[in-house]
């Protein structure tokens, strides 16, 4: 039912089980992908990623340029520059760091550079809060980046590798971000399977260098002025490439499953076939959402769940197909859409996609803890008709009903 686990015997590649935090799993994936240029500035909760990568470079395990920049703005600038030279690049950020890079984020898209970025998600200031919610990555949705949201250290590891393959595919050539929960994934030690032979990773995701780059044998100017006669057409290519990337993302995931034995799909449905109530969620909380679904089922409520893994490109048709028969769709949003039509960004997008009202639940803001009982209570209220659709509800906010 969950596309998560494929029997080990189907794996082509020998793997070993190790224990790593989400951050270190991402760093390991980056190393195995044989990244050539890393530029990053540490910010909680992603710091261990860039520290580990600095160690890899320093001790010779990874033959890469490590550029210790003075800010995230420079980090993004540096990877854009390196990518424009044809290098496989990586950077990582969180929260205010992302906002500091913001100016450069659309440039990677317009220049069609396959930069891959990790993101240990964190909420935004003020007040200062270094803890996890999805406010940062949600602010990237309009820019043209491919956006993955992952559930676990294993999924973050696998997705970083897939992201290189997708971003550098000649049908795509777009930057990609791989997000995972700040602390709940970034700092949680989990078991994970990694290929014994690291070369398998590059074999799966070879550096294509097929994108438009600076090349002395074929000189070109990148980032020139795009007057009103040209800008829209050039930008539209990126729009179309992002749309096309959905197919490539799926292919890359299926191929990854064949080689490494794990694939995730664009979306992960759980017990949705005959569901009357569905809970849509993303990130690490999907595990407890599934637990709630099982509990509701035991109590006779036909419930199901849907995990969003790819937010951009938006898999609208797939979502529609998976949810069209469901009466009540609840979306647990982990970021606030201040003053929006619904108070959570994914609730807005799901409602627009299925074209019916959704139940909008905000949770984990500023990493306010959530447990399966809280989600269960919310689901029961929705099921019994105590909560209305199109109204913001919160789980864990004091003094608000």
């Amino acid at each position: 039912m969950t596309a998560q686990l494929v029997a080990p015997k189907e794996r082509k590649v020998a793997q070993k089980r190790i224990a790593l935090t989400g951050n270190h799993a991402v760093a390991l994936a980056v190393k195995m992908a044989r990244v050539e240029v890393i530029a990053a500035y540490p910010i909680t909760p992603q710091t261990p990623v860039v520290e580990r990568l600095a160690e890899y470079v320093n001790n010779g395990e990874l033959d890469a340029e490590y550029i210790p920049v003075e800010s995230e703005h420079s980090a993004m600038s540096a990877v854009i520059g390196a990518s424009a030279m044809g290098a496989r690049t990586f950077t990582e950020t969180s929260s205010q760091g992302l906002y500091h890079m913001y100016e450069n984020l659309p440039i990677a898209v317009g220049l069609r550079l396959p930069v891959v970025m990790g993101m240990a998600v964190r909420t935004i200031s003020a007040p200062i809060n270094v803890w996890g919610d999805y406010s940062d990555v949600m602010a990237m949705r309009e820019l043209g980046w491919i956006i993955y949201v992952t559930q676990s250290a294993q999924e973050a590891f696998d997705t970083v590798i897939q992201a290189y393959r997708v971003a550098e595919d000649s049908r795509v050539h777009l930057p990609a971000v791989v997000a995972y929960d700040g602390f709940w994934t970034s700092h949680v030690l989990q078991p994970l399977d990694v290929p014994e032979d690291e070369e398998e990773v590059v074999r799966y995701a070879p550096i294509t260098r097929s994108w438009v780059k600076l090349d002395v044998d074929n000189p070109a100017q990148l980032g020139a002025v795009g007057t009103p006669e040209w800008y829209w057409e050039i930008r539209w290519q990126a729009v179309e490439a992002l749309r096309t990337s959905l197919k490539v993302i799926q292919e890359a995931d299926e191929e990854y499953g064949k080689v490494f034995g794990r694939s995730y799909g664009i979306l992960t449905p759980y017990r949705l076939e005959d569901a009357e109530l569905a809970i849509v969620a993303y990130g690490s909380i999907f595990g407890i959402v599934k637990k709630v679904v099982d509990r509701l089922r035991r109590e006779g409520v036909r419930s199901g769940a849907l995990k969003l893994r790819v937010l951009r490109p938006w898999p609208g048709d797939m979502i529609k197909k998976l949810l069209e028969h469901v009466d009540k769709v609840a979306v647990i949003d982990r970021a606030i859409n201040h003053g929006g039509p619904l108070y959570g960004p994914m609730a807005v997008e799901i409602a627009a996609t299925i074209q019916k009202p959704v139940y909008n639940v905000l949770a984990t803001i500023g990493m306010r803890a959530i447990d399966s009982d809280m989600i269960y209570d919310a689901a029961v209220k929705i099921h019994r008709g105590l909560w209305a659709p199109n109204t913001p509800y919160t789980v864990g906010l004091r003094g608000y009903e």
Binding site: G110, L111, R112, H173, W211, V212, N218, P219, A220, Q221, L222, G223, A224, V225, G226, T227, P228, E229, W230, Y231, W232, E233, I234, W236, Q237, E240
Partner: protein
Amino acid sequence: MRVETVWLGRGGQGIVTATYIVANASIIDGFYAIANPEFGAERRGAPVKAFLTISKEPIEDQEPVKTPDVVVVFDDKLIDSMRFAIDAVKPGGYVIINTGKSPEEAKKLVGRDDVYLVVLDAIDIARRHVKLDVPNGPLAGAFSKVMGFPTLESIKQAFETQLGKAVEQNFAATKEAYEKAVVIPPARVDASAKPKGIISTTSAFLTGPYEIVGWREVNKAGAVFPGTSLLYTTGGWRIDKPVIDHSKCIMCRKCWLYCPDDAIVEAWREVEGPRGRRFRMKAIDFDYQYCKGCGVCAEVCPTGAIQMVREL
């Protein structure tokens, strides 16, 4: 009543200011007006367009002007590259043109006999009054003369608000242009005829023969591959041209070093020696295709061998 106008000129000639002044003066006179310049990379000498619409009624529709009633041309060398705008003038409309040429020659240059042609040497007027190559005041004066608005008094007030300086000088230039502009009426006007073309809205910055292609064909990522500036002749941007007196030139090549357009070349020149023998010697020459008349060469020449002279 609604008058739609297009003003064509070069960066640095005050095209935008001209439309602001005429719009401002028209508003003082009780009209409604909007001046919307076309914004681009502000480069001195590069072709620039500005639009100005004046109406008795409030103007809410900022539609691009496609078939103007009036075209004001700040530089007769622009006529060829911006012919599409001249062609777009409605029959019976006006072409107001700054040129040092005679009205007859100017008429030939414009090549239309179904519009009013208004000819004046705005550069000459501006140089005498304002000591600058900004023909905008004089062209505003010519506009006022043929259209009957805005009044000279309002133009003066507009100078005060728009420029805030050199008001008297600019106004003197405007007045002189008002008096001197030569108006050639059309030979025939078929008011029902359509203009020969329109000013295309996608050609905002296009002044050359660019190929317009769809999004699939445009270079990926907007990459620009090597081209050549050989086809980009900037010689038309000139008002003055450098002229050399070879007898003063000591071949120090300072002019060659400083010319921003690589427009100074070394050429062979035949000279007659003291005993009547003819021989060849190196000499400085100008490639007028690319010389944009900045005057840097004349400025740096240590012997004063180069003079800048008005080119009509």
